[in-house]
Amino acid sequence: MTGTEESGASSSRRARVLAVVPAWNEEKNVPGVVRELLALAERPDVLVVDDGSTDRTGAAARAAGARVLTLPYNSGIGATVQAGIAWGVERGYAVIARFDGDGQHAPSFLGALSAALAQGDADFVLGSRYLAEGGFRSTWTRRLGSRWFSFLLRVLTGERITDPTSGCWAVNGRAARVLEAEYASDYPEVDSLVRLRRAGCRIREIPIVMRARLEGRSSIDAVRAVYYMFKVTIALVIGRVETRAQQGGGTP
């Protein structure tokens, strides 16, 4: 079955849930993620956004039954996710969820994320690894980073977020349009929470359990994790100053 035939089948059942799967050189992992998502009761449409892979990630995803959006070159996680959101907004999906192509986000949580959105008290539902017991434990540098950003977000926005670096989330149309308009090009998770809060979106967390990568190694080591903390902290503080300047500029 070609991608187009698959898309025709997807459109005919009018799925209102889109699972966006950003992937870069995940030829071995992405078919399993796609198959798990397509087997769910929610029957989501699955869009793999191939971030300029040098292996056959796109072909593998298509063969597993996903739609594939191919970026012409490696553009970074932010641009990749944003392209997937834009694709979903163009087609009017009610729910857009993100599941990474390495298989660490268990697709089975799509139902819980969608159900939390359906309750109507949130525009953005974030899967938190720290609200549930068990599952894969990330490195101590990443856990430290999460705690630091939780503290920073609380100071900057007043929002209590236990897992601000989580990449497993679902948004409704309102929040999707906010993220489609602006999304940080690298390390976008924490920044996007601030942007959503600034836009008046409501954020809610639900517990998820993270899995170990199915194959291969993560591209984020300890040095990159520290760099990430440093860079995002500065970006958040500057963003806060920028917001205050905008608010001040609007006052006569």
Binding site: T4, G58, L71, Y73, S75, A79, A83, A86
Partner: protein, 121 residues
């Protein structure tokens, strides 16, 4: 006029001619040539009229006049690097948007008439 002034002016003229040639061949885009032109013309002007900037140095309380040139050169280098960073950042942002737009358009085209599978680059 002293020998070093002549050398500086000739060097400045040659550098300016080189920049002009790059502009003429469109090897430098319009947003980038102005600071380079200023950077090549300025040394010639400074060498041609030393009393002007030496007097300015005295007015600023600088006893060793050439230090004013060091300060000016540092400020210009800083400004040029900053300007280039802003231009490059803007280009990166536009390039990412174009890449996304291209991917979205290819996806739409694929819905109408599927394109052959592309080999990974």
């Amino acid at each position: 006029m002293k020998f070093f002034q002549i050398v500086a002016i000739v060097g400045s003229v040659l550098a300016t001619a080189f920049i002009v040639e790059l502009i003429r061949r469109r090897r430098i885009q319009h947003v980038l040539w102005l600071p380079w032109l200023a950077a090549t013309i300025a040394p010639g002007l400074l060498a041609a009229y030393i009393p002007g900037w030496a007097g300015a140095a005295h007015l600023l309380g600088i006893k060793y006049e050439p230090l004013l040139l060091v300060v000016l050169a540092s400020a210009i280098a800083f400004a040029m690097l900053l300007y280039l960073s802003v231009v490059v950042s803007s280009l990166i942002q536009k390039n990412l948007r174009l890449a996304q737009e291209l991917a979205l358009l290819r996806s739409r085209l694929d819905e109408v008439a599927p394109l052959p599978e592309r080999e990974p680059s």
